[in-house]
């Protein structure tokens, strides 16, 4: 609520701020709005995976029995489906992140596309490294 001085009476008088009514479905109106909301939601899944890692580490510190019962939960069908959903959102988060990196760091003599592509190349090398370490380490 904004206040304005009434020049004639000198009294302070409440005036109403004009607020355009934005429907709750604004993010369905345009493709780019929808992708924006998807990007914001993707961070929820990023956090969820970090919490899952923490839960698994917690179980590991609680001894063999507790670790194995927790590991069994993470092997159940609905947990695998949830991880596929998490993975899709985290991949989307990655795509948007590399696109933003291009815009931020892509000043001359570089270009946004060049920065984004080099991000993907580094991502590929890092991912292969992680997978190699997890499978053979």
């Amino acid at each position: 609520m904004a206040h304005s001085m009434n020049s004639i009476s000198g009294k302070t008088e409440a005036t109403k701020t004009y607020r355009r009514d934005i429907p709750n479905t604004w993010w369905l109106k345009k493709g780019s709005y929808f992708l924006f909301i998807l990007r914001e939601i993707s961070s929820v899944f990023v956090a969820l995976y970090a919490i899952f890692l923490l839960i698994q580490l917690c179980a590991l510190s609680g001894g063999q029995e507790r670790y194995e019962s927790t590991a069994a939960v993470f092997k159940s069908g609905w947990m695998i489906i949830l991880h596929v959903v998490i993975w899709v959102f985290v991949m989307y988060n990655m795509v948007t992140w590399f696109r933003i990196s291009g815009r931020i760091f892509g000043a001359k003599p570089l270009s946004p596309v060049l920065v984004t592509i080099s991000n993907y190349i580094i991502w590929l090398i890092v991912s292969i490294g992680i997978i190699f370490l997890l499978l053979k380490g």
Binding site: A47, W87, L134, L135
Partner: protein, 121 residues
């Protein structure tokens, strides 16, 4: 409301943690989720490492602990910052004042938990 002021004064820190978390979430998480959350449970691969006695040995390594610490806490700050800014756009005034406390406080709380869990392993 002194605490809230202090949290707001740390805005550059929250932005930095958001950026660092974005890097970790983009570069490290996809491969980990794919192998640990999908490929292993489905039985596509069965690495020797993922049983209790091997894991205890691997996670006991200080370098692995540091890696896991940042792999957990930075994505949490990344998500906390982004969700806070999105919820702020809903313009619920009483909620907006406490959003930083809820999200940065939550991420910091989980950071402490992560630290304790990793030290205990």
């Amino acid at each position: 409301m002194c605490l809230l002021k202090k949290i707001n004064a740390l805005e550059p820190l929250w932005w930095s943690l958001f950026g660092a978390g974005g890097m970790v979430a983009a570069f490290l998480l996809p491969a980990h989720i794919f192998i640990q959350g999908i490929a292993i449970p489905l039985g596509w691969v069965s690495p020797d490492m993922f049983n209790y006695s091997s894991l205890i040995g691997i996670v006991g390594n200080p370098i692995v602990k540091i890696y896991l610490f940042f792999m957990i806490i930075l994505p949490l700050y990344h998500a906390a910052h982004r969700i806070r800014l999105t919820l702020e756009d809903l313009r619920i005034e009483w909620l907006n004042h406490i959003l930083p406390l809820i999200f940065y406080g939550g991420a910091t709380g989980l950071t402490v938990v992560t630290l304790i869990v990793l030290i205990r392993i």
